[in-house]
Each structure stands twice: as structure tokens, then as C-alpha cells.
Symmetry: C2
């Protein structure tokens, strides 16, 4: 699976009910990694790990359940008001990650260590050990904003002009990511934001090439349902960047590397146009309000890929 | 004041009742600073700051009051059992200190920032911006142990053979420390461990020289009462290193730079021998079980120094 954060985590929660978790590998976006208080935070990676570990906060979509925020309150005495919520238990993950990276251990290995210590059986693979940073250029602002600042601090306000993936040309994928794509019977692009969640992963040329070569085994689940996203600013981004805000708009972005497109029943009318892009398209209920619904959706995707 | 941790903090709590806190400057030992989880922890500095800020835990002698330990519990999933208790609010101090030091800010400036943010009005001056590390060599062990490992992890067990102050020759004092000694009407060596708390401070040659030049303005309060310490392993250390475990044994260590030695009434019999070392000696009640008793002791020391 190729994954961003919350939408991907929801799907994954279903997938591991239909597949042996030990055989699942998740390639995760690190473009919105950020340093807070000198600590390396990997929001998408942690959302995936905490979800698989059964530790994720069920209401927020980020962070841990039963979390406290005492360190953050004390940090505010030094740094002023915090706009990115880091819980006390969550901070332990960032402290560990930061120390290991400072010791020269690649992010991919540190990520595997964190996943293992928290009891995750799936492979969690950050897309690259190199630093790629997603920036969002808003209309009327001179500088592009780091993604978390745009999403969390500014609550995704403002008209988007451009997405910049700084460092993407120099970055190389983690070898395990390529290996996973080449050797898996089914590859699923999660219903994540196509620009800022899957965009950085697909922006790594060897990953995109590997997906193209595997196209018949690759499915994508639309993050757009009925003209909008379930969560996050993907719809606003599509509009701002001049794309049609529909599953067809998403499918166009993936036409070279996706063989099966899964959209919601509400968007059935797009099936023919999507198939004309050179991929199969199926419609089903894609709203994952419960783990059971997520599992059902994962089952449908896998069946359609003939797994 | 020259200070280690707990004993110094108790005295200081009294001193600021007798003196204007804004005119008090505390030169603090950093020899037992340690890195935990990649974070720079300054145990003595923090004990002094938290005490002056009125935030210190009244029972432990370290850390903050009303503290929680949720991050530490989560860190144990990555690092195994923790032997050094770092509270959630306390961690904010270490995270801030670590980031600032990594940004190239000297420890002395970062310490002043932390003290100011927590509302401390006294000057808190770490002895040096350079790294000095106190090691304890125990009989029967090949390697010397970092001080915190000896004190906290091994609970000060084992026969002490030698104290090593690694880096002390290359280290220079913070200029403000020298300036404080030169310009203060009264300089007080807190009732701290003479080897591992005041030893590193006095081991900085320019500090010792400045104290010698100011000898008549320098008082020391004995950390040994009735043949033992109130808290900590100073008595064991003195014995292990071949010193007499008494105020006289302590006074001998300070003979070149202390003009007034303050000992407990229980040790009156040592007055004459101490005075024969070339300093005045006075006996009083030095047990600081309450802030009022600490204030009384501070008043006596200042009066005896004619402040």
C-alpha cells in the first residue's frame, strides 16, 4: 500500500482484517515530516504505525489514545503557544527517532524499529531516507509554507497556487519500497491526498516507474466522493491547482500507473470516462465509517485485483 | 553562592528570604550533566532553577511538583527500563536546552533563558560552557562510571577509589562566574558535596584563584554533620578517598580559599582545629528541615561575613 495519513490508516485498518498483516507492506509519505522543538516528527508514518499497533486515537485521526499533553504545556513556557499537538506518549516516539537519526541510523531503519517496538507486524517503509519537504504556495503570500504550517497552523485556509516538493529530485526511494512494489500481488494507492500524501511518493521517479511496470497489479481508491474529500484539503487543492474535483480528476493523475480505479457508488457516472483513460473502474461503498466497512472495501479491492 | 543540587537548593531557599533575590547569583556545578535519550539534562542547574521558581518537588529534592511521567513510560518501550526519572514537564526544559545548544547557543545563555522563562530573578550561572564530566572509579570495577550512573542507577553503592573530572583542564569558567566572585560582598560555598558538586566548580583554576583573592568574603557551610551527610554520598566519598569524615576534613579541602567556616553545633569540638587552618569557624544549627531554618542559617552566615 502507498499511504498518507488518516485516510490511508482507515483503509489499512480494514486491509489487515482481510490480509495477513505480516505480508502487508506500507510505503508512507514523509514529505510532511517536520521538526518541532528540535524533534523529528513523521506525522503520516506515526499515524500508520499507531493505527496498526491499535494505539491510535479513534476520534482525532492522529496521535495516541488516552493521551496527555503535559510536556507540551510546559514547552509553551519556552516557545509560546503550540499549534501542533504532541502528546506526552507520542513525544517518546519523536525523541527516539531524533536520537537514532542523530546517531546516523537511516529513517527507514528507525521506522522499522519503532514499528517493531510497538508490536506492528506489517512492514512500515518511509518512502525515502532523504529529506523531501512539501511546501504550499498560497495566492497573495510571498513565501511557500511548510505543509504542517499550512494544514495545522493555518487550518488549510487560503487559495492554493502551487505545491512544491523540495528535495524530491535528489531523493531516492528506500530500496524496500521498490522491492515491495515489484514483489507484491496487489498494490493499493490508499484514498489519500493525491498531491501532498501520495504526490511525494509518486514523485520519486523509481517508484513511479516500478508502479508503471506493475500497472495491472495496482489499484487506487478515490479520496474524492461526491465532489469532496472525507477529510483534509484534497478537494480544495484539486480545485486550486485546476483539476476536476471528482474521481475522474484523480484517475487522470494516476493514469500511467494504475490498472484498477475504485470509486464510490455516488460517482458511478464517472466509470466510463475513467475506463477511457486505460484502466478498469469499479464502484462500491467507499465510506469507511467503521472497521467492518473498511474491511469490506479492502476485500472488494483485493478481489478485483484477483488476489 | 557556589552550588551543587539538593543541599544547595535548601540553603538557597533560605538565602532568598534574607537577601534580595535579584542580587543573588548562583554558580552551579555542571559536572554531573548527562545526556538521556539524546537530551541534555543539567540536574544541579535544574534543581536550583526549579527551587528558585517555586516549582521544585518538595519531597524528592529533584524535579517538579505535581509531575507526571507519561513520556518516560512510553520511552521505556524503546529504551528499556528507565533508571533516571524525567517527568513530563521537566522534559520540556531538557528539550528546550538541547535544541538551543544544538543551535550553537552557549549553555550559560540557555540557562539564563530557562531561568527567566520560569520567573527566576536570581542569576543562575552554570560553571562552564565547556563539557566537564564527573566519573566515579569504584574498587573492583575496571571502568569509571559517569556520575549519574553511579549515584542514581547504582544508588551510590560500591567503594570509591577515585573521582575523575574529565575535561576540567580544557574547560574555562563562564565569565559571569568570575565577575560574580569578584564583585560580591559575600560568597557562600553551599553545603554541597565537596568532591562531585563543588569539586568541579573549584577545579576550574580561574574560579579557585578568584576565590583565593576574595578569601575574606568567602564562607563555606559544612555538608558533614555529626560524621555524616544529610543527603547524598559525600561521607562515603570522603572516607573512600582517605579524608576525615568531619567538618575539619571538609575545611581542609577549602583552606586556601575560604575565610569563614560554618559548622553544626554538634561538631563544635572541631572549631579550634579548623581555625588553625587559617580561617574563622562558627557553630550553629545547620539542619535545614524547614525554609525558616534555612533562612535563619543564611542570616547567620551573612551576618558573620558582615554583610
Amino acid at each position: 500500500m502507498l499511504a498518507g495519513g488518516v485516510g490511508a490508516a482507515r483503509f489499512l485498518r480494514g486491509l489487515v482484517q482481510r490480509a495477513d498483516e505480516r505480508r502487508v507492506r506500507v510505503i508512507v509519505n514523509t514529505g510532511d515530516d517536520e521538526e518541532f522543538y528540535g524533534l523529528h516528527v513523521s506525522p503520516d508514518v506515526d499515524t500508520i504505525i499507531y493505527t496498526l499497533a491499535g494505539l491510535a486515537n479513534p476520534t482525532h485521526g492522529w496521535g495516541l489514545r488516552n493521551e496527555t499533553f503535559n510536556t507540551l504545556a510546559a514547552l509553551e513556557r519556552f516557545y509560546g503557544r503550540a499549534w501542533f499537538a504532541l502528546g506526552d506518549r507520542d513525544l517518546a516516539t519523536h525523541i527516539y527517532r531524533t536520537q537514532r537519526i542523530r546517531d546516523g541510523i537511516p529513517l527507514s531503519r528507525v521506522t522499522a524499529e519503532i514499528a517493531a517496538r510497538l508490536g506492528v507486524k506489517a512492514g512500515v517503509i518511509p518512502m525515502s531516507d532523504n529529506r523531501v519537504r512539501t511546501f504550499v504556495k498560497l495566492r497573495g503570500r510571498p513565501d511557500a509554507l511548510p505543509f504542517q504550517e499550512y494544514l495545522v497552523h493555518r487550518r488549510a485556509r487560503g487559495a492554493i497556487e502551487r505545491i512544491e516538493l523540495r528535495g524530491i529530485e535528489a531523493a531516492t526511494p528506500v530500496p524496500a519500497a521498490i522491492e515491495a512494489i515489484e514483489s507484491s500481488a496487489a498494490i493499493i494507492l490508499a484514498p489519500s491526498n493525491p498531491f501532498v500524501s501520495l504526490g511525494p511518493i509518486l514523485g520519486l521517479a523509481p517508484i513511479r516507474e516500478a508502479l508503471r511496470a506493475a500497472k495491472n497489479r495496482v489499484a487506487a481508491v478515490s479520496p474524492i466522493v461526491g465532489g469532496r474529500t472525507i477529510k483534509g484539503p484534497a478537494d480544495k487543492m484539486m480545485r486550486g491547482l485546476g483539476h476536476e474535483v471528482s474521481p475522474l480528476g484523480v484517475a487522470r493523475l494516476y493514469a500511467d500507473c494504475v490498472g484498477l480505479f475504485v470509486l464510490d457508488n455516488a460517482d458511478r457516472r464517472h466509470i466510463a470516462s475513467i475506463e477511457s483513460l486505460g484502466m478498469r473502474a469499479i464502484a462500491t461503498d467507499t465510506i469507511m465509517t467503521t472497521p467492518a466497512r473498511a474491511a469490506r472495501l479492502a476485500g472488494i479491492v483485493m478481489t478485483a485485483l484477483a488476489v
